[in-house]
Amino acid sequence: MKQWYQWMALEYFFKRSAPYGAYCLIGGMIVMVTAVLWGGFLTPPDVQQGEAYRMIYMHVPCAAGGMVVYAGISIAALIHWVWRIKLADVCMTAFVPVGAVLTALALGSGSIWGRPMWGAWWVWDARLTSCLILLCLYLGLMALRQSISDGTQAARVCAWVTLIGALDLPIIHYSVNWWNTLHQPATMLAFKAPSIDASMLWPLLLSLFGMALWCIGLGLIRMRTLIIMRYRHLSWVQRYLGGIDAAC
């Protein structure tokens, strides 16, 4: 009988997830390119910011991606801490660099936009600083994982750091409401109709969807690679690797 929790077993996950990573990654790339071209060339310029507002089609999906990936690894950390499921630890490890790159891109694209619009590359604003802390959390998790040689120990320590670090997420989200910041308040996630014209909103939603697909695809591929690297001594992994060797 097929049951959903079979997906939590490493072998079942590895064998059944094979094509989805590539599908999501390629699909995500196509959607992202479409959204950026649509937003970059076909939408009208903004009445105040002119052409420079088009950075939104890179900045917003990257920033949202960085935060959602962190929320995802926090859930994986919780599952790993309570139920000790190995796949949750694989997920936790695999998605960290993905989130780190997205957060770095969000900070970089925001900085490039900020220079002409605000008049400064960087300000120590609550939103910007809390995002920089998120990037430091990602980098710290990557370093922490490398620094502990015992895999079980590393997984537990990383789960704790991930979960405590998750307290930064509400701070990032509400920073623009709680304090006087230079960063503008939310355009889409406020409790009102989006304060962006529909012609600009659609490509933005498409870019968010593309980013989600791309993240899931990249994360799945990284999870599968990690499973091979970590559990190469298991007989079913050996058989899989043997099959590849024979095919070459």
């Binding site: 939408t43 009208p44 310029p45 903004d46 009445v47 105040q48 910011q49 420079a52 507002y53 939104i56 919780l78 801490w81 309570v82 139920w83 002409p116 619009m117 605000w118 008049g119 400064a120 300000v123 120590w124 604003d125 609550a126 704790w160 979960l163 405590i164 307290l167 701070i171 304090w179 006087n180 910041t181 230079l182 503008q184 308040p185 939310a186 355009t187 406020a190 304060s195 962006i196 014209d197 012609s199 600009m200």
Partner: protein
């Protein structure tokens, strides 16, 4: 749920609560330092800021921007709809600096007005193409 899992969940909730509470207290204590800028009302209330550099944020009052002769910079009023502060600035203005729009500047008090050393534009969260009516303005009327 088995007892050892229950214990792990309880430990986790307890640690998260303590860290969350600690973090919240830290942020409360640092509140005035986290704030990027003061509003004109806060600035006029906090006379302690008289002797050092502070950041001021608000709206540039319509028709208040005056360009001084002999390249002596510009003067304008910054308002939070309750109080207004007069600002003098000599330097390069960001692209989004416009009367009626948001501004954040750093400066010091000098002869009853703010002598700004840096002026940044604060952008709002509205995006629309040119030629369309601003939906937020329709609502306010």
């Amino acid at each position: 749920m088995e007892s050892h899992r229950k214990r792990r969940v309880i430990t986790l909730i307890a640690v998260m609560l303590i860290c969350g509470l600690g973090g919240a207290m830290l942020l409360m204590a640092l509140r005035s330092h986290i704030e990027l800028y003061l509003t004109p009302t806060q600035l006029l209330a906090q006379q302690s800021h008289l002797n050092h550099t502070f950041r001021l944020g608000g709206f540039v009052v319509m028709d208040s921007v005056q360009v001084l002769p002999n390249q002596n910079g510009i003067v304008f009023q910054v308002s939070d709809l309750k109080h207004e502060v007069k600002v003098h600035y000599k330097g390069i203005l960001p692209a989004l600096f416009k009367p009626g729009k948001g501004v954040v500047l750093s400066g010091m008090w000098y002869h009853g007005q703010v002598e700004a050393s840096e002026v940044l534009a604060k952008h709002d969260e509205n995006y629309r193409p040119p030629g369309l009516i601003d939906p937020s303005k329709i609502k306010s009327r």
